[in-house]
């Protein structure tokens, strides 16, 4: 029974990490309408920029995280403006954009390896005792992950519902030509979306690194299809669906690790992905007019 | 028995999308050998109806009977194999294939589409391929596209793409051709040519047509029968002259209003 509660707790933590990454991916998909296969590299950027902030620039960890997250957002905008936007403007089909982002993942991941090396790194976090919360038991880092995720998701929700930018994003996500016709500056909104998507990926990467303790360039990329599974489960392009999907996948992965073997926990995410595609390909919350 | 004469019978078709009722009870018949028009204001559900008839969208209730067979809810390719071919609202040629190839795809149940035949018995499909080729060249000549046969379909003009769409459909030997706004966005001269082709196909091949059309002049000249739709329902059926006398139809078509409102006023 203790094991059950522990696993449930870890599942929530994994779900929190996943939801940050999944919302970033889903948001960008909703606005630009193509999947970014280089997203795993953005997670890695988040980890390594933060690492540089802490180890290289001697920033306190919280400041290093902010630095890492913002730097990843900027990287994401730069990549979009220099590489993806020209193709989109030329009218390249989504089909080829997928190949381009796939190629981009190879470029960026190897760039990260060239800059930061191939070995495993870890953040300097002072070791402390687990905190007990009722039947649950968390490390302070895990509590921080859940807290950061919850705060960030509330912030994203407020951004989307309360600000002009957020409303423009939602309008583009629903119907891009209509949004353009109503006078929304779609280029600007698209760039902000990439920035936000990059920030969320960066934060997802940092929290993932907190959770796994050790990380290297490909840590985020092996996690990529788990993020896809969460996004598709939630309904591709659906922000709240992505949050829900992330929590479900997080729980499934941890319980599969408990029941079967931790070597096969990712396979459980794949099983969910397959089941969703076979039974309910539109996801929990379907995207009208996009499927 | 007028029913025997009907190649297509649609009975009380219903379909909604997330709370919006796109089709709320469509019933009509298409008589064999006619050109039947489907008219109605924008948003009346004409394209949804075409999709539901052709198997692209599954209706939630109702029946579609084609040539005596119930085809309700059958997948697209099975509907097509039974002899009902539909075209799309915007021209959807195979862009990076030549005009001739666009036609060569259409013949149904080609033996050369089976891997075993291709790898082990190529002579089997070559004879068939020759027949299709001769046929395709004839059809292209009929439609005045012979000179363009080796051009990529994407390089055709808008009007030529419309002709290609029809030529490609003819190659599939349909008994019923459902055209979704075949005249949209083409110049008046070409409208006449397309209309001539449609009449010729009906007279020469006995193809029945059901066409969604906005241009009422074209409908009047071309169509034997007209089905009027508004807000997801079929309102009336008859010749254009009969419909002009029908106040309800005129009101619905001009205002796009709900039939109930019209009835309340009448």
């Amino acid at each position: 029974m203790t094991l059950f509660w522990l696993t449930l707790g870890f599942g929530v933590v994994t779900g929190a990490v996943l939801s940050l990454a999944a919302v970033g991916l889903s948001l960008q998909f909703g606005v630009t309408n193509f999947v970014n296969f280089a997203y795993g590299a953005y997670l890695a950027f988040g980890m390594f920029f933060t690492y540089t902030g802490q180890v290289g620039l001697h920033l306190p960890l919280w400041l290093a995280v902010i630095f890492g997250v913002l730097a990843t957002g900027v990287t994401s905008v730069v990549v979009d403006a220099l590489i993806l936007e020209p193709f989109v403007r030329r009218g390249t089909s989504g089909f080829f954009l997928l190949i381009i982002t796939f190629g981009l993942s190879l470029v960026l991941l190897n760039l990260i390896q060239a800059i930061w090396g191939v070995g495993f790194d870890q953040f300097q976090i002072s070791a402390s005792n687990p905190v007990r919360l009722g039947p649950f038991s968390f490390t302070p880092a895990q509590l921080a992950i859940v807290g950061i995720a919850a705060a960030t998701l509330v912030a994203v929700h407020l951004l989307l519902t309360r600000t002009t930018l957020g409303k423009s994003m939602r309008a583009m996500s629903d119907n891009a030509p209509l949004a353009r016709a109503t006078g929304i500056d779609t280029t600007r909104v698209t760039r902000w979306t990439w920035f936000l998507s990059g920030c969320l990926a960066g934060l997802g990467g940092v929290t993932l690194a907190f959770n796994t303790v050790e990380f290297q360039a490909f840590t985020g990329n092996t996690f990529l299809f788990v993020i896809f599974a969460a996004v598709i489960l939630g309904g591709i392009g659906q922000i709240y669906g992505a949050m829900l999907g992330a929590v479900i996948i997080g729980l499934v992965v941890n319980f599969a690790g408990l029941v079967i073997s931790s070597a096969y926990d990712l396979d459980a995410a794949f099983a969910v992905l397959v089941l969703v595609l076979l039974l309910r390909p539109q996801g929990i919350i379907p995207t009208l007019g996009k499927a | 028995m007028s029913e025997k004469n009907e190649i297509l019978e649609v009975r009380d078709l219903r379909r909604s999308f997330g709370g919006v009722q796109a089709l709320r009870g469509c019933s009509f018949g298409v008589r064999r050998g006619t050109i039947t028009a489907l008219i109605g204001p924008n948003g009346a559900g004409k394209t949804t109806l075409v999709d539901a008839v052709a198997g692209a969208r599954r209706p939630q209730s109702g029946r579609v009977v084609f040539d005596g067979h119930d085809i309700t809810g059958l997948p697209c390719h099975k509907v097509a194999l039974s002899g009902l071919i539909r075209t799309f609202q915007i021209s959807r040629e195979y862009p990076a294939m030549t005009v001739l190839e666009n036609l060569m795809v259409s013949p149904q149940r080609q033996s050369g589409e089976r891997l075993s035949t291709v790898l082990l018995r190529p002579s089997r499909f070559r004879a068939e391929e020759r027949q299709h080729l001769v046929r395709a060249v004839e059809v292209l000549a009929e439609f005045g596209l012979y000179e363009k046969r080796n051009d990529y379909a994407r390089d055709l003009s808008g009007g030529q793409k419309r002709l290609l769409e029809l030529a490609r459909a003819v190659m599939a030997d349909p008994r019923l051709l459902v055209l979704d706004e075949p005249m949209a966005g083409i110049n008046p001269a070409l409208v006449d040519r397309l209309a001539e082709h449609i009449v010729r196909l009906r007279d020469e091949r006995g193809t029945t047509f059901l066409m969604v059309e906005h241009n009422l002049d074209v409908v009047e000249r071309l169509c034997d029968e007209v089905v009027v739709m508004a807000v997801g329902q079929t309102l009336a059926t008859g010749t254009m002259a009969e419909l002009r006398a029908n106040a309800e139809v005129v009101a619905a078509y001009l205002t796009g209003g709900v039939p109930a409102d019209v009835r309340a006023q009448g």
Binding site: V35, F87, T92, S93, I99, L104, L106, N110 | R109, F125
Partner: protein, 342 residues
Amino acid sequence: MGVVLGYVATLGVYFCVYNIFAFGLNIQFGYAGILDFTVITFMAMGGYMAGVAALGPSQPGSGIYYILGLSLPWPVALLVGAAAAGALGYLVGLIALRRLRSDYLAIVTLAAGSIVLGIVSNSNSLFDGSEGLVGVPQPMNGVLKLTPNAYTVFFLGLCAVIMVICWLVANRIYRSPLGRTMRAIREDLDVAEAYGKRTFRIRMTAMVIGCVIVGIGGVLTIWFVTALAPAGWGTSETFVVWAALIVGGRGNNLGAVVGSFLVAVLFNEATRFIPAISSLPNLIPEVRNMSIGALVILTLWFRPQGVVAERKARFFEVPLRTGSLEPVPMVPAPATGSGAAQ
């Protein structure tokens, strides 16, 4: 002399093998428009299964464990490998081809690839885990008793023969009504469906035959290297095949050959012989991978149709009003070079 010959023959073998991979991917992507982002997994499946079919039973005391161990002759092992790759392709296709969206398909192939990689690496009893298979017998090596360099030349001949057979098969499919329908599905799946084409079945055919061909390339790989481990088949290897096809020209088997030569042989294999910088041992592979990714992006920008554009299908000219001639279906005409990305 022998060393140079052996080196050239080695590059020749890589050329043939990458040609085969590119033909397989071309049938999937170039013909049918299937985004297979895990080509190399099917190569591995072909290689492993041929390996365990040809190897003797795994010895309990050796610390090397693998399934089967049937000691089959090499032609049978080749068939086993090809069939296994095709079967895996069928399984992936069952999930991936159900959906119309090409991004779902790409996600499923990518996910399936990492799952297979995970299972093979973690399971010691399947193909000896992360150590991989070693000592796979080479075809006729025991019979011929050649020097290593001479054997490489012999093996190049074997690869060339198999490559040419794959090329002929791929071309025949391209020119058949099956290939034409595959391309029609690539251009517009909904329309092909509306014309009565069984799009799922035809795409599945493309998926499986592509995987079988890639699997054959995998068998040749494990024969040549005599070993295969999970470290040898990752995303970057998949991308080399993609780069070969995109740079050479998709939808066109000659393009696949040109691309394999440019990317896989000149670029990828030749740079392996540049001496590594001792302080940065990984820099050269990293720069190579980055360059291959960049090469694809630049090709799609500057010459989206590739070096050799997809050829326009030409039919034997049928004069109007006659039907008595002997037209040969589809004789390819010279490339026009006008094909842009759609």
